[in-house]
Point group: D3
Chain length 151, copies 6
């Protein structure tokens, strides 16, 4: 195994081109993808019944093991289970809003709309997220002890 | 403009007893509560069909306007709407776990159990919260652009 | 009550137009607002002695109960009390910066300027926010025990 | 698929015992584990050259698919690669401290010690985590534009 | 400079005692402190007009350069300036509550009491922190555009 | 005690021009900088062997004491020590991604590239950050007890 120590220098020497670029962050289109990456893209499109793949996967594609691993996780966690698909998206949204992840709010907001969220449901979701963030801070500020009845 | 600096003392002078104590953080029991606080406690117990009030409200009770205000918010946001009661608790949990609020996880976990969450549903909730926190960071680390299709 | 389950489908079917749009996020101008929304806008402008309303309220306006509720909360929490108006804005800024909320930093930064914050005070605010975030992490990393004297 | 709606009630009815308990949070010891869970425990101990399994896995064990999935992720992400093992633990610690996860700081702190972290390295780690949290907030508070040279 | 690579092993070998202990986290009392650490403790007590030092400094003391550096930062940022001492503590509290740092809430809560915060002011502080956390999430969830007037 | 309330004005009065501007956020170029600020810029460029200064320092320059203080901290914490320079950047990135600080990710990402990070190392960094954020939430959601072996 090549160690960290061996792979870099403290002094600034000339860097090979590939380490200078930010190429790892450009989405890889289907046309430019390796067979291994295309296989995941194909599975994503089949699973979702769509003809395109969003940037999350197209940027992860720079590291195929991560692409494969995350897609497998995604299918297992977000696939059919005991919570219905829209509820799963609402939970995802609650986390993404609390973390302030703009991309995630856009992508899972779109997914929620695709699964039929109504404007009233969206408004309730936003209200609950806000209230929970408020009361979370109250609980912490006041150093509340967990009630016996909750244990 | 008169500055803030002029309005205080840097040196430590004797403080009135009530500002020294941490009394604001001790829960106020029904027996010790003012009529105004009891009125809110009564409404909480009636609304929830229970005979007790949890620490969140009993500590907020040190500032009756906040107690009243938060209970009114709570009823409006968490009351009947277009999302069902258990879904509302799951959203609350997703926020509370992401914020690391131990009290809130305990109290809303209890509420979710009361509303019938099954162990399998709880396991799925935890898995989704974890996955969303993971992919949120991927999206941020890779500075993903929002896809046109999501706009 | 219409439940979540009844309002959506797992399979992708045609969606009614209103659920496809992101219309809930477009600000609603006074001219286009319902009487109920206008009443809140009027109160905001009177209270603030201004002739315009900012986007926060104009987007919340898609769900009038939330608009009304949040404005009532805002007036109660940020209105006259024992902390002066500028101090209240500084606390709001400290939270907004820690959460990384760009909109909130802009809006409450403007409010702080309107209430007379000086550049030196702003620089001190930013320095304290930074230092507190630093020492917060030290305390957590080192798993510090709360001193008896602080209890 | 059983939907959320079908699995719970708004009204409080008697709950089956298993949903009332918090049993999902008690660690499952090897002696009490199913063969499927034991297989994962065995792999963990072999991989780590230890004779015990920590609570994270023993609590996840209540949902064997999550246990299996997370262990597979863990091995893939934290296993041999281009970053050395101690560096990986330092990154893990930086995240855990920033999120305020006490359990994670304890477990990955122990892992870092096992991999040879020195007190001086630990002190530097804590100092960097603190400084980064400080300057992160400065950058956000001041709404810094990304320099051309960084793009 | 000793590099990371040289200081650890992938394989688990016997560790020197000092790396096994968690000694870096035990507070160092004055009696056990080196002259260099005592000099900082002395300055802390003189500056604060107290006869004791809290755990934050006593744990940092394991790495004297960090102890010295943080105390110098603390005096510069929290010392006399254009914001008064109590306001500075309120800002510190707002950050600490938002980050969920229990130790910091306890220590700066005590400092605020020492500087004369009243129960009513504390209640207002907590209410503002809560509200700001709530509206921060609304702003993010709704992807609000910054108003021209705020720029 | 004289309260904060007495030291301010609730009503909007005319503000001096300097408090209205957002001038504190415009980067100060070398040509426009005071000698005291230039001295820090010079030291930054010498230390980094570059001929430019990034926006973080050029915006902090509006408050020279903060500029000087932060640069001194930066040199002490990020300078030579027992962790190698690239590892320090990885830790900085882990914090910045977890906090969602876009500027910091861009600037420390550039620093990591300058210090030789390879695309594979970057991919591993992102994967670890994601995984740690995921398991942090699991640990919190499940309220895990710290194992005896970790203490």
């Amino acid at each position: 195994m090549l160690t960290l120590h061996e792979s870099h220098r403290w002094i600034d020497t000339a860097m090979p081109e590939e380490t200078k670029s930010r190429a790892t962050q450009a989405p890889i289109d289907y046309a430019d993808a390796s067979p291994e990456v295309r296989a995941v893209y194909d599975d994503i499109m089949t699973y979702r019944k769509t003809d395109w793949v969003n940037n999350y996967w197209k940027v992860l594609a720079h590291h195929p093991p991560t692409l494969r691993r995350m897609w497998a996780n995604f299918k297992e966690v977000m696939g059919p289970g005991t919570l219905d698909p829209l509820t799963k998206e609402l939970i995802y949204m609650a986390v993404s809003v609390t973390n302030g992840c703009r991309y995630c709010i856009a992508s899972h907001g779109a997914a929620a709309r695709k699964k039929g969220i109504t404007p009233a449901q969206h408004a309730e979701l936003v209200a609950i997220i806000g209230l929970a963030n408020e009361t979370n801070r109250h609980a912490v500020a006041l150093d509340l002890e967990v009630d016996e009845q909750f244990k």
